[in-house]
Amino acid sequence: MRGLIYACGWLAIIILGAIAAFLIHNSVRAIQEAGIGTMLSTTAWYPTSSPGKFGLLPLIVGSLYVTGVALLVSVPVGVGAAVFISEFSGRRVKDVMKTIIEFMAAVPSVVYGLIGVAVLIPLVKDIFALDSGMTALTGGVVLGIMSIPTVITISEDALHAVPADLRRGSAALGNTRWQTTYKVTLPAAGSGIFAASMLGLGRAIGETMAVLMLTGNAAVMPASVLESVRTMTGTIAAEMGEVVQGGLHYSVLFAVGLVLFIITFAINLAADLVLERQRKRWRR
């Protein structure tokens, strides 16, 4: 029994290692035949032509566009709401907001995608007078809304971790609530809020279903956020069903997965280190 408990404890490392191992193993063919340098530096994504062209740049840029828009939505709104909940509202408002945030986090991404299809695609089409409302902007706005719960939760934790003494000290010096917030609390919680934004970014870059339904999936270099883009996640989801198992295209999709894994791993690791440092700073 004790052995079993130890084994389960170590399982997280084993699974994470296994994910990396399987991704790398299946990417080997892509790395050898299509070449890392070529994949990461060319812009032609024609996986089914012969020979197939596997330039990942349009997909990476597509992901960046969508994620950029998502951050512009989620960070200001999420941090603002977190500050309001943590510094300016009473217990009852806090409880209500917590329930609402939990609901938003629980709604499946495919349902957000469906709402985007029904509401946002026609809206974007009309506002910008486009031929199609499936754009990086559409996907990005929905993704931003989806990452708001992450940003609020982590930011609020960071604000909560700031010792009450600091706020009381500031209030005793005659500062108003807002002066205390932006002169004392926000700087003290700054790194945690930064980590929250990073985790929101990680959530947005890895999201699949909503972007797949909303961005139109054109695998070309976009000139603006009002054009259709195809993200890395969307490419894997859309094309994996049609490829020959073990073929070059199959392997390239695993390589895309590996790129995603590395990006999100780096983001999470960095955010975790930042949060850990902050935790140590306020621990007595």
Binding site: L16, F84, M97, A106, V111, I148, W178, L260, N268
Partner: protein, 288 residues
């Protein structure tokens, strides 16, 4: 600047800040209510006995979603059966056994990183590891295993946090009575922490039930003639049913698709609310 002007300015700033921040919080509330209202408003018309008990007809444009519900329930139960024992034991390890050193720190890092791995990458891993390497094929088992990897961090974290809140006195009292460490854990510590563990786990499993990307390549199908007959059978699933209709059925029937979304969201919310109510009821019952 005179003192009163300064105060007036500070008060004005306070007022503006409250308004702006309040507006942001209010907009979050508005979006959440809009999402909820929109789903209910468009989906409620589809919900009747036929919809819940019939099989889909004409690629989902007509008929009901019975096998789709069954598929999601089977997969989620499978995920629960795999995730709960492993996740709880891992939580016990971290809270009760793990030494304070760098390996434990590495395990914790691995857990937070697992929570951040994109769901589509879990889908790829499930395809490579469970469908192909382990030879389970596209099946409920392969999908449940994939979802298990995704849900584990949630269950582990919930368990560890719940165990940490059990007072040290309880453990010491049990040990003083001569119980072994293991017996203390499963007779004293785990029952005391059960509400927290179960609530956290249900939230994680509810999220797993709504996931599409991990089951895309590991067993979900859009159409099948019968309900699944075993763990190696393929299955239909609510989120995949929505996605497949919107993207590949021309002239999809909005009423039925929104009905499917409403069933999914209602199921997830009901599970979360029930868990929340049960936890607060338990909290009132148990006092230290």
């Amino acid at each position: 600047m005179s003192g009163t002007a300064r105060i007036r300015q500070a008060r004005a700033a306070e007022f503006v800040a409250r308004m702006v921040l309040g507006a942001m919080a209010a907009s979050v509330v508005a979006v959440a209510l809009f999402v909820l209202g929109y789903i209910v408003f468009h989906g409620i018309g589809a919900i009747d006995w036929t919809f819940l008990t019939q099989i889909p007809k004409d690629r989902g444009r007509e008929g009901g979603i019975f096998p789709v519900i069954v598929g999601t329930v089977y997969t989620t139960l499978g995920t629960a059966a795999l995730t709960l024992p492993i996740g709880i034991l891992a939580g016990v390890y971290l809270s009760e056994y793990a030494p304070r050193n760098y390996t434990t720190r590495a395990i914790r890092l691995a857990i937070t990183n697992m929570a951040g791995v994109p769901s589509i990458v879990y889908g790829l891993f499930g395809l490579a590891a469970f469908v192909l390497a382990a030879g389970f094929g596209r099946s409920i088992l392969a999908a449940a295993l994939t979802l298990t990897c995704m849900t584990l961090p949630v269950v582990i974290t919930a368990t560890e946090e719940a165990l940490r809140q059990v007072p040290q006195d309880l453990r010491q009292a049990s040990l003083a009575l001569g119980a072994t460490r293991l017996r203390t854990i499963y007779r004293v510590v785990l029952p005391a922490a059960a509400p927290g563990i179960i609530t956290g786990s249900i939230l994680g499993l509810a999220r797993a039930a709504g996931e599409t990307a991990p089951i895309l390549f590991t067993g979900a199908v859009f159409q099948m003639r019968r309900t699944p007959d075993g763990p190696l059978s393929q299955f239909m699933a609510l989120p995949y049913h929505i996605y497949a209709q919107v993207t590949s059925v021309p002239g999809w029937n909005p009423t039925l698709v929104w009905g499917t979304a409403l069933v999914l969201v209602a199921g997830i919310s009901a599970a979360s609310i029930a868990a929340g109510i049960w936890r607060s009821a338990q909290r009132r019952k148990v006092t230290w």
